[in-house]
Amino acid sequence: MRNYVLKRLGLAVVTLLVILLALFLMLELMPGSPFNDEKITQAQRAVLDAKYGLDQPVFNRFVHYIKAMLSGDFGVSYVIQKNMPISAMLEARLPVSIQIGFQAVLLGTAIGLLLGIVAALKHNSFADSLTTFISVIGVSFPSYVFALALSYFLGWKLKWFPLLYSSAAPFVSTVLPTIALSMFTIATVARFTRSEMIEVLSSEYIRLSESKGVGSARLIIVHALRNALIPIITVLAPLVVALMIGSLVIEQIFAIPGIGSLLVTAIQINDYNVIIAVSFLYSIMFIAIMLAVDILYGVIDPRIRLAKGEKHG
């Protein structure tokens, strides 16, 4: 097990390096530079490029970046918060994104599981159709429509929740964004849970548990759910990464100082260091969560515990 994790970590380092290199090459190809305001003269642009080392060949910059990165220096922002060290920016924004993402994952998974289970139990019933309906709606409406509708009704009309994020009330002020973000997760989880539970519920060991006289609540939670979990966490994993890194629109609507808006803004205005750092962070999270999921597979299903085995999906 430890060897396995170490091996995966080793691979992850290589993967991350490749990603970084790819990013550098891509940014090189990207149009414009961080400093192409109408007002800037060519000469001044050259001065700026020289100051930030943008006049160097890509490869030198890459090597330089890696070196700096190893000492915790991710460079400074060129545009968004001029000259601000990226590490400070991430440090400030990441916890917020993670908190809201985590809440959304939790909420989405809980409700999604609930809906999926009910639908599977009442297969081909009204509750089942309702779940299908909800999960289709959940994926076909963009989250910002939910977000604004929630703000409008729950925040503005009913005044139940604050409209804007406030670091002084980190829970109450994140209720609305959490709900808006979790819709897609609810939909996806509900759908997968449903189909997976239908399969599990028709399996022999569930029959056996029934014939042992296990009550329905225990039957579902202890026996069925755990066996249905593998495909569910498989689809959940990328969603978790996406949620943790935050969403541009949701962050904009609720004035959340998160990572998601940072990346999009940075890409639009060529704030290279921010792009690289956030992408890098994203990749790390992605790889880490994938690794976590692989390990989780073994925890959930002891058959996969040898860690060498194939994972689902």
């Binding site: 149009p31 109408e38 003269t41 001044q44 001029k82 639009q268 060529n270």
Partner: protein
């Protein structure tokens, strides 16, 4: 309520107790203005900042030699007295007694340091060009790397006296140096903070009405509290300014209605629903939005085609039906309220007026163009940036032109702003919807753009006579003959419009809502930013 100005001044103004208030737990008694903004505070370093909000906040915490009042007139601020030499090339400023928020006095050295820092290549200021605009001696050469930044024509004679030398007389010098790039910087403090300087409230000094109290990295709020060390602290009535960054406009309007913020900028369709409200204000800015035809594109070199296009769309509908934010129809190049002539009148009052929208005329020009070009249809691409208003305006213009000029088709190309600028900069476009904001209060801030070598002459229109006249106006013989210069400027503008070098569309207005209990805000004007110095909240 059109135009720049202030909200109604407070009638009685007993200055409130100045308990400093933190943003979140502001006691009811404290007068804190909550402001909704849609961009982050990018920089508090006056040499580094480039955007409106940064300049606004820098101006709220720091003062320079001049400030621009609500009538767009530069007023002495930190400078107590100014002497101008006969030849108009040497200014001597005497400073008033003022203190930084750490207690050290503001001296002439701080100005010298700041100005030299602005042009110092190590600073890599994106706004260094403004030193050249201000005509500071050697500025252009320093920026071009030909001279050392030490040779800039500014010198602190003693703590209270600052002398400035110019290359040539600059009629609008006073208003240029009111710009935040020319604000003082305390050298000792900056050296002490090193790379940290201006990144946190602790690494920042204030000498203006407010000082930065909290500014979380990446936070969506930051808070300015009243600066009791400000020399004019007595007239500051607010206890603080609480900025909230809300990027989604619908949400910020909801927040405004909820009472979370006292000030919000409107956009898009929201404007229509608040236009009748007493809380609605609109402020005309100096931004001119115009279409730039690229002369290098086959067809567009034809003046008749250009004229046809420039007359073919209804600008009134653009400002009244689409923007509705107080923007005005622009049939001109030099915006309204930008510059006042030697006669004390606004440039536009005496400058010529030009045809706006005339579809029949347009069609005639198009017929001529067709004959000259030997074509009967042309397809052009309209490049614009991906903001809501630019998108709507472009779609509207496309539709107008296509209906007015049968045979002309426009395809639309939307790009993020940076890309749009880059493409136009490189001449990789056909027709582009772009804008220009003034750097100083003089028509040349616009008219200089269509000289042959100007990098912002995206369309690459070029005429020798124009270049020569422009040169005389800015640096040549006309620079010291105000009336003649003024007439020459009008000629330049007339040329641009007659040649249809650009197709102006509108001069941008900003629509905002301010709570009725808020008074005394200087909503800013062309060339100066919003000022809260005299604001009050009942």
């Amino acid at each position: 309520k059109q135009g720049s100005g202030t909200t109604p001044a407070s009638t009685e103004s007993p200055s409130a107790p100045t308990a400093s208030a933190a943003p979140e737990e502001s006691p009811a008694a404290a007068k804190v203005l909550n402001l909704g903004k849609d961009v982050e505070l990018a920089s508090m370093d006056s040499a580094i900042a480039t955007d409106g909000l940064s300049f606004e906040v820098i101006a709220a915490t720091t003062e320079g030699l001049y400030t621009i009042d609500e009538n767009r007139v530069p007023q002495l601020a930190l400078a107590e007295k100014v002497d101008l030499s006969e030849d108009g090339l040497r200014y001597t400023f005497t400073l008033r007694d003022a203190k930084w928020s750490n207690g050290t006095p503001v001296t002439a050295k701080d100005f010298e340091f700041a100005w030299k820092r602005l042009v110092n290549p190590e600073t890599a200021s994106e706004y260094s060009f403004i030193a050249g605009v201000a005509g500071l001696k050697n500025a252009d050469a320093i920026i071009a790397g030909e001279k050392s930044f030490d040779e800039l024509g500014v010198k602190a004679v003693d703590d209270k006296t600052l002398t400035v030398e110019l290359e040539c007389p600059i009629p609008f010098f006073n208003s240029v140096i009111a710009f935040p790039s020319f604000f003082p910087v305390n050298e000792a403090f900056l050296k002490e903070k090193g790379t940290e300087y201006a990144l946190t409230p602790e690494a920042l000094l204030a000498n203006g009405p407010f000082k930065l109290k909290t500014w979380e990295v990446g936070g969506t709020t930051f808070y300015l509290e009243k600066n009791n060390d400000y020399y004019d602290a007595g007239s500051v009535k607010l206890d603080g300014l609480n900025y909230k960054i809300i990027k989604d406009t619908q949400q910020s309007v909801l927040a405004y209605e909820n009472g979370d913020i006292d000030y919000v900028a409107l956009s898009g369709e929201q404007i229509a629903s608040y236009q009748q409200s007493p809380e609605y204000h609109s402020v005309l800015t100096g931004f001119l939005w115009y279409l730039s035809p690229n002369q290098k594109v086959p067809g567009l070199e034809n003046i008749n085609l250009r004229k046809a296009i420039s007359l073919a769309y209804d600008k009134t509908a653009v400002v009244d039906e689409i923007l509705k934010d107080g923007s005005i129809v622009a049939d001109f190049v030099v915006p309204q309220f930008l510059a006042t002539g030697p006669d004390g009148k606004d440039y536009r009052e005496t400058a010529g007026s030009y045809p706006s929208n005339n579809k029949e005329e347009a069609l005639k020009y198009w017929e001529k163009a067709k004959a000259e070009l030997g074509i009967d249809a042309i397809e052009l691409e309209l490049l614009f940036e991906d903001t809501e208003s630019a998108t709507l305006v472009s779609q509207f213009i496309q539709s107008e032109i296509e209906t007015a000029l049968p045979g002309v088709t426009f395809t639309l190309k939307s790009q993020p702003k940076k890309n749009r600028v880059e493409l136009m900069y490189n001449g990789e476009y056909e027709v582009g919807l772009t804008r220009w904001g003034p750097d100083y209060n003089d028509p040349m801030t616009y008219l200089a753009m269509w000289t042959t070598d100007n990098p912002n002459n995206f369309g690459k229109w070029s005429e020798k006579a124009y270049d020569e006249l422009a040169d005389r106006v800015s640096r040549g013989d006309l620079a010291s003959k105000p009336e003649e210069r003024w007439e020459a400027l009008k000629q330049l503008e007339a040329k641009v419009l007659e040649q249809a070098v650009i197709f102006p569309v509108y001069q941008k207005g900003n629509a905002i809502l301010i709570k009725p209990e808020v008074t005394g805000v200087n909503l800013g004007s062309i060339g100066g930013s919003i000022s809260y110095k005299l604001a009050d909240k009942q």
